[in-house]
Symmetry: C2
Subunit: 201 residues, 2 copies
Amino acid sequence: MTIKYPNGKTFNDDENFDKRQSSQRSVDFSNRGMTLEAELNKSNQYYLRNNIAVIHKKPTPIQIVSVDYPKRSAARIKEAYFRRASTTDYNGVYRGKYIDFDAKETQNKTSFPLKNFHEHQIEHMRMCLKQDGICFAIIKFVFDQTIFVLKASDLIHFWDLQVSGGRKSISRETIEKLGYKVQYRINPLIPYLEAVDSLME
Amino acid sequence: MTIKYPNGKTFNDDENFDKRQSSQRSVDFSNRGMTLEAELNKSNQYYLRNNIAVIHKKPTPIQIVSVDYPKRSAARIKEAYFRRASTTDYNGVYRGKYIDFDAKETQNKTSFPLKNFHEHQIEHMRMCLKQDGICFAIIKFVFDQTIFVLKASDLIHFWDLQVSGGRKSISRETIEKLGYKVQYRINPLIPYLEAVDSLME
């Protein structure tokens, strides 16, 4: 993918942001400092704007306890608590298929700790797979900015081994072997749907 | 659908709740007082428990401004505001297909006011349709507890007419003609996936 120069088409801020950033830094460390969530939101915006896929992060579930309704201004939530989500964070539609995934980053270098996932997220993936959904995890090793798409069925395999006394993490080596490595680009920043194409074949 | 008697299978509270309610009231007014959202959540729980579909309501999006982290207790959100959702409220997977819908109830008797929808929800449906998602609206006329599934393409048709100066509502008559009427049942309370089966044919 090449960087496009102004050609009369309307620029939007996000695209300019990409270009500014990409000219300031080397490719390898391009996204250091940006959270995986922010990177995926940018990527999903790109997919949405270009009619490639409609994928959104779900809002964080909140238990609202008390709300103020001041006159002439917006309702203000005065007391609320975080609730545990009953699903994964991302879902949507791509080429007619239901897409469902969660994204996790780890500071570890040699393995991905399974404790990054909760039981209910794994159960949600199991149920989506039964409905023929396309389910996976996006795993980022922060230290070297490497991203993998790992099929939910592989993740579930290691989860179940752990539950029956197996190791509490998946080695980087295993993830390299089973997963699809996704290289950072300009647009989309994380072209993870290319890995999904492979999953769908 | 017949009511099942205890047969050694574990009862769950939701099912008992249904039975208790249904014996106390006539079928026509069975769900008066329950919001459409609560009814759909119950229906989706049924679909989920029975491996029929995985469909969830998305959490309400909140802009969090201030959070307290007291020692030894849960983080407490002290200030937050409601944000406008950028998608419809419900989505999930059924028979391999991406399902996406919004649910609206009206107190009107002869028509459904289009102002129940926001521009961005209609745009979201347009984009999901482009990706071959199954998109629709669930519309409930509260006065006579009647529920319809209306295809997104029909809804968008009337929305676009409105934008170009047409009427600001869809007549009940039109909804009766174009939509799929869904009859309340015991389990699931609102068997809307039967209408979806027809949409998918």
